[in-house]
Symmetry: C2
Subunit: 237 residues, 2 copies
């Protein structure tokens, strides 16, 4: 199974595992079973074991997984054991919020270039870098060897920006614009679209009982059971 193509849906879950494992480490867990991890995540033990099995045999029978070791393995698989430079395009309200977001750095992402269309924004200094005009995208991306772009421009400008990013060498795009981007197959795109998410949730908000949702439709973890007995896994605190 090793080396066979790993389904993208599995890849998307790994960051959630990683996030949870890091939290568990902060809480002092040394070891965790797939069942316990599944509880936290609202997933299932079998799914977690299957997902991890694509990459290796990280567990120990009768014992579970070492939290610290599994974190290292996931970081390695996802290539998170290095720093990634990111280009941000768009410096309107949304772009500015992204530029000032403090969550990138602790996760190994650094906004290394910012591009704006508005001449008032160009030249501003943000986090020590100068905001550049969008005409510079290809050149700067190539010079800084950037592989990841974030698009925070209006929908009608997004495809053109994507084209430039790709032309410069970007192979991963986080797209905040409400439009489907057309990119070559070697480029990965993930969409962030709060409006679509709200619009799909309203489907379930009927007063009458239909569509019945009694079994849930699998969006998050079932309501909290008991707190997991953690003692045996924790280092004495």
């Amino acid at each position: 199974m090793r080396n066979a193509a790993v389904p993208d849906i599995v890849i998307r879950r790994l960051p959630l595992y990683l996030r949870t494992l890091r939290q568990l480490r902060r809480e002092g867990w040394q070891t965790i079973s797939s069942e316990e991890l599944a509880q936290q995540l609202g997933s299932t033990a079998a799914q977690i074991r299957r997902d991890l099995s694509y990459f290796g045999r990280f567990g120990k029978q009768g014992y579970g997984y070492s939290v610290a070791a599994l974190i290292r393995e996931l970081e390695s698989v996802l290539q998170l054991d290095r720093l990634w430079n990111v280009a941000l395009v768009g410096y309107g309200k949304l772009g500015q919020a992204i530029a000032h977001y403090r969550g990138f750095a602790p996760n190994g992402f650094r906004i290394a270039a910012i591009f704006a269309k508005n001449p008032e924004h160009v030249g501003q200094i943000v986090n020590g870098i100068v905001v550049l005009p969008e005409t510079e995208i290809e050149r700067v991306i190539r010079e800084l060897d950037i592989r990841i772009g974030i698009i925070a421009v209006p929908a009608e400008a997004a495809q053109e920006v994507a084209n430039r990013l790709v032309a410069g060498g970007v192979r991963a795009i986080l797209n905040y614009a409400p439009v489907m981007l057309h990119v070559p197959p070697e480029v990965t795109v993930r969409e962030i679209d709060p409006i679509s998410m709200l619009q799909s949730m309203t489907y379930y908000l009927r007063e009458d009982g239909y569509p019945s949702q009694e079994n849930g439709h699998a969006t998050t973890v079932p309501h909290l059971k008991a707190t997991i007995a953690a003692e045996k896994h924790q280092v004495p605190s």
Copy 2:
């Protein structure tokens, strides 16, 4: 097939269809085939036809779909032909950005209540509404009969906020906090997590050719083919 439970994955695609159809309408399209719509969306004609068939027979053979009529059908299915009040919890950087986002209103969502923990924020007036303390969540949600909540608080506070929202009667949550929420099955949750998205994309950013991505792994639409011949569908402009 009508009335059988519709898969959630289908429901999640409907807003994307709607968004594209509205754009086509703006451009003057009167009619569209599943094949043409699929091109725009980077989907397939068969998938679009199957998805729509869960809700009715909206097309006409040899002709396609009426853009205006299909928009109305989708709005009806998703219950977007009304205004939805939304509660926003959290008024830090992210919460403020959400509160000032101009994209909700034109899509039928209105932030009708804002809750903050920080006493400096409580009492401020934003878009004509007063920022309230988080202790008021249940009462206000119930009084305003709000069904949708947006969580924009730190991860460690998110579960408690979710509990209060649900206690007040919320049945749909858009969660910006990087943590899996535990909610009862009648509540829908959608996650917005840019960090996880970046962290999953780095998997594909290997310099060596592995994991081979030559076939793509289905994240967006294949690179633009020809522009669709639109003339026959358009009203003369």
